[in-house]
Subunit: 233 residues, 2 copies
Amino acid sequence: MREVFHRSLEDLQARLVEIADLVTVSIDKATHAFATSDVALAEEVIANDAKIDELAVTLDEQAIEILARQQPVARDLRIVVFALRVSASLERMGDMAEHIAQLARLRFPERAIPKGLKGTFTRMGELDVEISRTLSELLRTQDLRLADTIRNADDDVDELHASVFEKVLSDTWKGEAGATVDATLASRYHERFADHAVAIAKKVVYLATGDWAVEEEDIALAAEAQGSAAPEA
Amino acid sequence: MREVFHRSLEDLQARLVEIADLVTVSIDKATHAFATSDVALAEEVIANDAKIDELAVTLDEQAIEILARQQPVARDLRIVVFALRVSASLERMGDMAEHIAQLARLRFPERAIPKGLKGTFTRMGELDVEISRTLSELLRTQDLRLADTIRNADDDVDELHASVFEKVLSDTWKGEAGATVDATLASRYHERFADHAVAIAKKVVYLATGDWAVEEEDIALAAEAQGSAAPEA
C-alpha cells in the first residue's frame, strides 16, 4: 500500500512537471509572438492552452482519487493538496501566456509591442521564460535554491513592470490610447505570470521545510504589505 | 462520526458564506470609493483584505483537517475539495476589490474614474456588488437559480468591459495616458471579479447536480472558446 501510494505521488509530481514544461513552451512562444508579431506562433499558443487546461483537470482528478482511495494523512496529505493548488496556478500561468499571444494576434499585422517599450518587453519576456524553466526544474529536482532564482527574477520583472507605467505616464510618451492599453495589459500579464511562479515556488519550499502554516501567514502578510505600497497595476 | 462530519461540513459552508459576505462589503466600499474618490473608504477596503486572506487560510486548514481526520470519500470528499477551491476564488475576489480601492487611493484627490466613463464604471460596480451578494446567497441557500442570476449579470459586466475599450480606443477619447491606464486596469479588475464569481457558481451547480467532470470539461471548453474570440483584456 505504501509503495502504491508513493508511486501515485511520484506520478502526480511527474504530471506537474509535464504541465510546467508545457507552460514554458507557451510563454516562450507567446513572448516571441508578441515581440515579432508572429501570428502563427500566437495561434499555436492559443491552441496549446486547451491542452494545459486538460492536463490540469486530469491531475486534479488524480489527486482527488488518491485522497479517496488512499486517504493520506499528515505530510502525504499536504503533498496531494499541494498538487491541487499548484495545478491551479500553472493553469493560470498558461492563461497569462495565452493572453499575451492574444494581444499579438489582435494587433497583427501591426506590431504588438508599443514603440519605445521593445527593450523592456523583450527583457520581461526573457525573464518570464527563465522563471518558467526554473520552476519546472524546481518541481522536478526539489532543489530549493531554485526558489531564490525565481524570486530574484520576479523582482526584476516587478521593476520592469513599474518602468512600463513610468514610461507610459511620462511626458515623453507619444503612444496613442491603443498603445497605452496594450502596454498596460501586456505588462500586467507578464507580471502576473511571474507572481504565480513565485507563489508555487513558496509552496515547494514550505512543503519541503514542513513549515506550512508560516507560508500561509507569509502570503497574508505579503498581501497586506502590498496593500500599503503602490497599487498592483 | 457521521454527525461530527456533517457538522464539520456545515461549518465549512458557514465560513465560505462569511468570507463571501466580507467580499461583498469590500466590493461595495471599493466601488463607492472609486466613484467618489473617498480615500478613507478605500483605506478600509485595503485594511479589510488581510482579514479575508486570514479567513481563507483558516478555512483551508479546517478543510485539510477534515481530510486528515475524517477521510471523506465520494461526494463528501468533493465537498471538501470544493471548499478549498472556492476559498481561493473568494480570496482573489477580495484582491480585485482591493485593487480597485488602491486605484482610488492612488489618484486621490483627483477622481479615479476617467472622464466619460462615470456611468459605465458606476454600473459595473453595481453589477459586481449584486453578483457578490447573489453569490453569498447561493452559497448560503444552494438555490441554483441564483447561478443564472450571476451568469446574466456577468454577461452585462463583460459588455461594459468591452465598451470601456471601445470608448478608450475611439476618436472621441480625450483622456491622457494616465486615464487610459486607469480605465484599462479598473475595467479588468471589475471583469475578473465577476469571472471568479461565475467560476464559483458553476462549481456550486455541478456539486449539487453531481456532474463534476462535466464542469471541468465545460471550463476547459469555455477557455478554449474564449481563446478564439477577442483577447481577454
